[in-house]
């Protein structure tokens, strides 16, 4: 039995991964065909599993409510179900499904609208973190001043390019546009490119280990 739990699933993984690599590197049609078959399965496997999320979501909320029957937990248990019913019901039952006016109304005013707000909230959280971290000098307990080179570099890159994007400074701070672009196209490219190459090498190493059957997460976890 153990072989069905460990070795066979690992072999399946390695086989599929290697086939996809061969389809990429070689001109043999067989690999191209198999690649097409496997990749066409992916959206289906993923889509069929969607109910699992619903189960976990409801279960966690139900258990929370059972543990502590307060108003917050009550809201958390009931409100998602009501809105699930409204959205899902409209999508399933109203003629035209998600293209119907009713669903579009819900989508525009609730889903899409609030989808935009979440990015808006990030302006504030980012701003406060920047206020906290973009400090050139800190005072040590002995009363001396300490210059923080790395924070300065972060601040330099961050503020110059921010000013470059705001019309007020484009008008009253001549040269900021060119200088901002220079930061973006020279030191930013240097640092960013090194980080991308390094992370790519690490990703490939994990990939090889996975195909080799030595990645613990995909082999051992039952």
């Amino acid at each position: 039995m153990a072989v069905f739990r460990r070795e066979i699933p690992t072999a399946v993984l390695s086989f599929i991964g290697i086939v996809i690599l061969l389809a990429f590197f070689t001109t043999f049609d067989i690999f191209e065909t198999l690649d097409g078959v496997f990749t066409s399965w992916i959206p289906v496997v993923s889509a069929v599993s969607v109910g699992l999320g619903l189960i976990y979501m409801i279960y966690a909320q139900y258990m929370n409510y059972q543990r502590d029957k307060n108003l917050n937990n009550m809201i958390y248990l009931v409100v998602p179900l009501i809105f699930f019913a409204i959205f899902f019901g409209t999508a399933m039952l109203v003629p035209g499904n998600i293209s119907s006016d009713a669903y579009q109304w819900l989508y525009f005013h609730i889903y899409q609208n609030v989808g935009g707000v979440i990015y808006a909230v990030m302006f504030f959280t980012l701003a406060s973190s920047a206020i906290r971290t973009m400090r050139l000098v800190t005072k040590d307990p002995a009363g001396g001043y300490q210059f923080r080179l790395e924070a300065a570099a972060l601040m330099f890159g961050g503020l110059i390019y921010t000013l470059r994007q705001i019309p007020l400074f484009q008008v009253y701070l001549p040269g900021i546009v060119g200088f901002g672009e220079l930061i973006m196209l020279v030191p930013n490219v240097g640092g960013g490119r090194a980080a991308v190459i390094a992370a790519a090498l690490a990703a490939i190493t994990v990939g090889i280990r996975t195909l080799w059957g030595k990645e613990r997460t995909t082999t051992e976890v039952d």
Binding site: S46, Y76, N113, A120, M122, A153, Q165, P187, V221
Partner: protein, 201 residues
Amino acid sequence: MASVIGGFIGTLFIISVMSMLWKDNVFFRFGQAAIMGASVAHYTFMNFQSVHTNAIKPILAGNVLFIIPVILGLLMYARLSSDLSWLAKYPTNVLVGVGTGVMIAGTLRGQIIDQIKQTILDAFTGFNGIIIFIGVVTAFSFFIFTREHTGALGTSVKIGRVFLMISLGANFSGELVWYLTQMIGRLMYILNEFIWPLLGA
């Protein structure tokens, strides 16, 4: 009227999400719970459609091979049983197998070799190109893990970290101004969809 009501509801949701910046409150929780239900519904419906288009239709048209991914998808639910949970490993490993293959194939060229090529070509375009080259070489040395960062390597890492930090700062700024725009966009929504129509402007 439907539009003003829509604008009103939309505005309420905007305020409920934003209220978490002030403090945790029932209003925020209601909004959060509602959006969670709505999003799972939208996601579930889109996936139903996807299964219908990508599996049911082909199966009905005689392409029985598509029964396999449906079965694999159903095996994911084995996770709910402690005795059969290992069955979920099959669909998971099929997905990871595809992912790993695609990842290795795409990464080798796009994120390593092309980047090296561009760095070398840049180095011969003038002073800026040379700075980029120095940035890549020194910042890359920060990611060496099998040597202590002392001596020449230490110096290189120090320079490299400055490049890395400028890059982080630039990324920060790009996103900050984008998020600022999104906030302004939501304020415009409140004005255009709710306040102005309500005032009859």
